[in-house]
């Protein structure tokens, strides 16, 4: 579903990704771990179409299409979703309005009719229950005055409503207490499907206890140095990242 080859990305003068390769198939959950500043967030932001980065080399294809030339909204309409590390507060833009506008943009792109009001509310209520969110959130401004945990839940709520094919989760666990983490994780797990891929970026192994990945990658210095199954995450938790770097340097 997602194929990244030799991806080089810079932000201004600074090289951030320096030849990254990654392939994620439908039905898989991949976790990317790595030290601070290794390029984890840059990777998912570039995949979602954030401006301010320059791709100098390499490709990223999504279902065979060149992802990097698409506008952010085209990617979203094609089924790519980014759960933000720091969801933006947008007072004056209604939360439920954004959900509906996003869903309809995606449906329109697929040639489907706009969702009717009743059907939409039923869907949103069901997903809110899953995320243990109060309905009062619907009519507030997007993330306006939400706590850190509420913002992260709202991200997963949006994901549950928009039903992407490729979900990119950027440090979705950061700032969550254990109860909120459980809710968010069960929300994500409920979205696991054979036709959907999830790529999550995290600092901590903790998240992976709740969302168990098929593959774990270590990103450092802008490249993936090592890949493995979920046991790699446990090893990283115990031994840190330095041994991976040394191993890669020796190779």
């Amino acid at each position: 579903m997602l194929k990244i080859e030799n991806l080089h990305v810079r932000a201004g003068e600074k090289a951030i990704l320096t030849g990254l390769n990654l392939e994620v198939n439908a039905g898989e959950v991949h976790a990317i771990m790595g030290p601070n500043g290794s390029g984890k967030s840059t990777l998912v932001q570039v995949l979602a179409g954030r401006e301010g980065y320059e791709v100098t080399q390499g490709t990223a294809t999504y279902n065979g299409k060149d992802l990097l030339t698409m506008a952010p909204e085209e990617r979203a309409r094609e089924g790519v979703f980014l759960a933000f590390q720091y969801p933006v507060e947008i007072p004056g833009v209604n939360n439920v309005y954004l959900l509906k506008a996003g869903l309809n943009a995606i449906r329109k792109h697929r040639g489907e009719p706009e969702v009717d009001a009743f059907e939409f509310l039923t869907l949103v209520r069901e997903k809110m229950k899953l995320m243990q969110m109060d309905e009062s959130f619907l009519n507030r401004g997007v993330n306006e005055g939400f706590s850190g945990g509420e913002k992260k839940r709202n991200e997963i709520l949006q994901m549950a409503v928009l039903e992407p094919a490729l979900a990119l989760l950027d440090e979705t666990d950061s700032g969550l207490d254990i109860d909120a983490l459980r809710v968010v994780a069960s929300g994500v797990n409920s979205l696991r499907r054979p036709d959907r891929a999830i790529l999550m970026v995290t600092h901590y192994q903790r998240l992976l206890d709740y969302i168990v990945p098929d593959r774990v990658h270590v990103l450092s210095g802008g490249r993936i140095l090592k890949s493995g199954d979920k046991s790699l995450a446990l090893e990283l938790e115990k031994r840190g990242y330095d041994w991976v770097k040394q191993e890669a340097a020796a190779a």
Partner: protein, 438 residues
């Protein structure tokens, strides 16, 4: 250089004098008043940018134009821009009251809405006396011009203890394409403990290069409440100068929503004078210059009496080469203790060539006061734009949503639903294009 400037200025005043002298004069007190006002105008002419109050607005283009006093238009005006269901309607076309286009239904006791032109025809001495009696200490040049030339307008009189919740909707409509000028007067007298809502709607016609020089005076007696909406949508080549002066007696409350969309060059000067303890002025404004529009707002809140409150919030959205100016002055007199005054000016620039100048000015001569002010100018937040687009919204939709969100804090304070809906629609037309926004 200065000789040329002087010559040009003299020419402008000469042209206005010719227009002034050409009018039929009856020689009574009103003519005397007009002549004195004209002489005051002619003595100084149009302000220049050396004048501190006009620092950001250049009037040379206005000064170079010739305008004939506008004639009553026999043609039917374009009604499509009027707000439907906005209340008791009074229509002025080219500054002249048109009873045929106005609401015919009788008003309840205590509510009078009448044409100034009728008053001039019936009793010119009385109107001269009224204007003289209520003249501000230092009228502006444009108020002098208005006194010299005004022919019509609207008087709203609400008797004491009369509550009239149906809005009084005054339409100032231009018709035809002549380079004409109009100086409509609106006089509002709100009696003790009365309540009313006034909507003033300025609408242009085609691409006429007209001048609207309007003077609105409001007197709120003790405990009176007036909600005033001012919607300026003059045509794209026109000039609009609006002067609003509100005097507030004890415990009265004046709320003004000042919305500027139109005109090539517009200036609104709004003064609220809090003369009685407990009086409150609430000023909200939105100006949206685009193309090469220049929209200037100058507000002055005078806290003359103790225990008076003012809150002011203005927002500007500039696109293209549009230029916005907001200056908010607050004066707290020496004996005016226990004052609460808040002011906020937030501005949004949508293009690299747009410009907004904002300046709060506080003059405080009392010591027991709470005054706050804040001003910001910025662009659309790129992270918010990306966030919305990453949810599937097009760039244009995302921009329109964020622009509307920015204006929202002004629009949500509009209690008059037809006005709010109308403005939402106008903003939508200007920014949303063919998006999916409702």
């Amino acid at each position: 250089m200065s000789a040329i400037a002087t010559k040009t200025a003299a020419t402008a005043q000469d042209r206005y004098r010719a227009a002034f002298e050409a009018r039929t004069q009856d020689g009574g007190p009103l003519t005397e008043l007009r002549r004195a006002a004209f002489d005051s105008f002619a003595a100084v002419g149009f302000p220049t940018q050396r004048d501190e109050d006009w620092k950001y607005t250049n009037l040379r283009r206005l000064e170079s134009r010739s305008f004939a006093p506008a004639e009553a238009a026999p043609v039917a005006a374009d009604e499509s821009g009027w707000i439907a269901g906005a209340g008791v309607r009074m229509v002025l076309v080219n500054g002249h009251a048109m009873p045929g286009l106005s609401s015919a239904s009788p008003l309840p006791p205590g509510v009078t809405v009448a044409a100034v032109g009728q008053w001039i025809a019936n009793d010119p001495a009385a109107i001269a006396a009224y204007i003289e009696q209520h003249a501000p200490a230092r009228p502006s040049v444009f108020e002098h011009l208005s006194t010299a030339f005004f022919e019509d307008g609207v008087i709203v009189d609400i008797a004491a203890d009369t509550v009239f919740d149906e809005p009084i909707y005054i339409v100032h409509q231009w018709a035809g394409s002549a380079a004409a000028m109009s100086h409509p007067r609106v006089i509002v007298r709100a009696g003790r403990n009365s309540r009313c809502t006034l909507i003033e709607h300025y609408l242009g016609s085609g691409d006429a290069e007209s001048l609207t020089n309007t003077v609105v005076s409001l007197h709120l007696d003790a405990g009176a409440q007036v909600a005033h909406y001012r919607l300026q949508q003059e045509s794209s080549r026109s000039f609009h100068v609006g002067t609003v002066r509100a005097r507030l007696e004890r415990d009265s409350r004046y709320t003004c929503h000042d919305i500027a969309f139109g005109a090539s060059l517009a200036r609104t000067g709004l003064t609220a004078k809090l003369e009685g303890p407990g009086a409150e002025a609430i000023l909200r404004g939105l100006f949206v210059p685009s193309g090469s529009q220049h929209l200037d707002t100058y507000t002055l809140v005078e806290h003359v009496a103790p225990r008076t409150v003012s809150s002011e919030e203005y927002r500007g959205i500039a696109d293209g080469r549009g230029r916005g100016v907001f200056r908010g002055k607050v004066i707290v007199s020496q004996d005016a203790q226990k004052i609460d005054s808040r002011q906020s000016s937030r501005n949004l620039l949508l293009s690299g060539t747009a410009e907004i100048d904002t300046r709060p000015e506080l003059e405080i001569y009392a010591d027991d006061v709470k005054c706050s002010h804040g001003a910001t100018t910025g662009q659309l937040d790129t992270t918010s734009l990306f966030y919305l687009r990453s949810r599937g919204l097009s760039e244009q939709e995302a921009r329109a949503l964020l622009i509307r969100a920015f204006a929202e804090s002004i629009l949500t304070t509009i209690e008059c639903t037809p006005v709010r809906n109308y403005l939402e629609q106008r903003l939508h037309e200007r920014f949303a294009g063919d998006g999916i926004l409702p």
